[in-house]
């Protein structure tokens, strides 16, 4: 995976003077960022500042209204819908409101990226078992998503985001609905993934989480304020 990112140049996600507007004033403007492989970023800022919008620009769900966004060297504007779909297999996303297919078991939901990309989930059964075990979800493998607790849903969403062994993991408020202990476990999972070489970006407004992470990993903190993206100081 690392090698694949390296072949495309060192930058996995690159935003250049990007602006985004939902119509009626820009939400983000003049945003520039280069995510290098293996980096660990936090994205913070007040609610409604545009954290989710920023992440959506990073995985091609939104096309910038100005400026350029490049995913693995490809300009988002020139990508077809299927190009975007293929890029999503290399970018694992943990949604804020982790959505699942409610009629499939949790294990099948976690394996969904394999299913839709044409892999045979049976041949990856061992990986799936290990992953569920690693996330502490094994006992709940056959539960349907509505039966899961908030923490279990967050961990299942994370497991689904990483099952394809993506180069990048984007997580939007992954600890939003869980208690402190659970948020520490989730953070631990993300830190371990980063040590395996994955690029990680976590959007959160939980400063405690950021402080806790800084003890384990060299993380940079980006802050969205006044429609701009700034590198926050060390004094956080």
């Amino acid at each position: 995976m690392q090698k694949r990112a390296a072949e495309q140049g060192t930058i996995v996600i690159e935003l250049e003077n990007v602006a985004y507007s939902y119509g009626g004033g820009e939400l983000l403007s003049s945003v520039s960022l280069k995510l290098a492989p293996g980096s660990f970023h936090f994205l913070t800022g007040p609610s409604g500042a545009g954290k989710t919008t920023f992440l959506k620009l990073c995985y091609g769900a939104l096309v910038p209204t100005a400026g350029q966004a490049r995913l693995f060297g490809q300009d988002v504007r020139e990508m077809t819908r299927d190009d975007i779909a293929l890029v999503r297999r290399r970018i694992g996303v943990v949604h804020q409101d982790c959505q699942f297919l409610d009629h499939l078991s949790m294990a099948e939901n976690v394996a969904l990226p394999l299913t839709v990309s044409g892999h045979d989930p049976n041949s990856e059964q061992q990986n799936l078992t290990e992953l569920l075990n690693w996330c502490g979800l094994t006992p709940r493998a056959n539960a349907l998503p509505p039966e899961l607790s908030g923490g279990e849903r967050q961990r299942a969403a994370l497991a689904r985001a990483v099952i394809m062994s993506p180069d990048v993991i984007l997580a939007d408020e992954p600890t939003g609905n869980v208690d402190w202990e659970m948020s520490q476990r989730l953070l631990q999972l993300l830190v371990e993934l980063n040590r395996m070489g994955k690029t990680v970006m976590i959007a959160t407004h939980d400063l405690g989480l950021i402080r806790a992470a800084k003890q384990h990993v060299q993380a940079r903190v980006l802050r969205i304020s006044n429609r701009r993206l700034q590198l926050a100081g060390a004094d956080l």
């Binding site: 299927d82 293929l86 999503r88 297919l101 009629h103 969904l112 299913t115 839709v116 394809m164």
Partner: protein
């Protein structure tokens, strides 16, 4: 992937794509029902077209080659004029055979109007001569002239006057039958498109999740297309079987060859309705695929 590959992939089956869309009982039954009803109707439209087609061909064939000469003359001259007319016909180019109808035949022709025991001999009815043409036909104007010279009481009725509108009507009916089949196909495509759009709208969240985890449009579309195609094929199969059974139970044609009772299939024509389910499935495939790709194209 070409259209053909997609159809093959669809037939060979991909259970996983099927599983990702939750089962939906109600619309499934409606699709089955609509496909069944439409195919049932199509069987009748097909039967109508083929039966009127047969009728048009037969009328066209038989009537084109048969004419009648009617000899009205005083009773003492009828025999002489009949013989004179037959002599003229014998030497007319384009006449394959000609014969005077016997008294019994004339009586059976009149029986429907006067009853079976008409004393035909006692009535001043004209003598009829049946003329069968060769495939080239004869010159009716020339024949009339010669007849008027030899047998002044002879009137040639070459049937074209009343044949043409009948054949035209039968042909028109056949065209209407085929048009009905096309309209039924169109209505079925419209219904399936509506059902597919409803299913796509109801599963907007499923589509969003699939898109999020990197499913290509083709994969998402296939989940819906396969489902609707199989449903339609099943419904159409049932509708076709019921339609065939209904046709089988129609009373068979009487000797008079009544147009209504002749509705049905003959010989190789029974193969036509068997084509309806595959055609219905193809219509469903194309309609759902178009609907799915259009809906997906509008999403981000």
């Amino acid at each position: 992937m070409s259209l053909r590959d997609q159809i093959m992939a669809l037939l060979s089956g991909d259970g996983s794509a099927d599983r990702v869309v939750p089962p939906s009982g109600f619309t499934a039954h409606l699709t089955l029902f609509a496909a069944g009803v439409m195919t049932f109707l199509a069987v009748f439209a097909l039967a109508l077209s083929l039966a009127t087609g047969r009728l048009a061909d037969r009328w066209g064939d038989e009537l084109a080659r048969a004419s009648t000469i009617r000899i009205s003359a005083p009773p003492d001259q009828i025999q002489a004029q009949t013989e004179a007319a037959l002599r003229v016909l014998d030497t007319t180019e384009g006449v394959s055979s000609a014969r005077a109808l016997t008294t019994d035949e004339q009586r059976s022709l009149l029986a429907p109007w006067f009853g079976a025991n008409v004393p035909v001999e006692a009535l001043p009815i004209p003598q009829l001569i049946e003329v069968i043409e060769t495939s080239d036909g004869f010159d009716s104007a020339g024949l009339r002239l010669r007849l008027s010279a030899e047998a002044p009481g002879a009137v040639l009725d070459d049937h074209t006057r009343w044949r043409r509108p009948l054949v035209a009507a039968a042909n028109r009916l056949r065209a209407l039958g085929f048009l009905s089949i096309l309209l039924i196909g169109g209505a079925m495509a419209a219904m399936i498109t509506l059902a597919a759009n409803a299913a796509l709208a109801a599963n907007a969240q499923v589509i969003e999740v699939l898109r999020l985890v990197g499913a290509e449009d083709r994969y998402i579309a296939r989940a819906f297309v396969r489902r609707f195609t199989l449903r339609t094929a099943t419904g159409a199969l049932v509708g076709m079987l019921l339609g065939i059974v209904a046709i089988l139970f129609l009373p068979s044609a009487q000797e008079e060859g009544g147009f209504l009772t002749g509705l049905g299939f003959q010989g190789g024509q029974w193969l036509w309705p068997i084509l309806l389910p595959p055609v219905a499935a193809l219509v469903a495939f194309l309609a759902t695929r178009r609907a799915a790709l259009r809906v997906l194209g509008d999403l981000t």
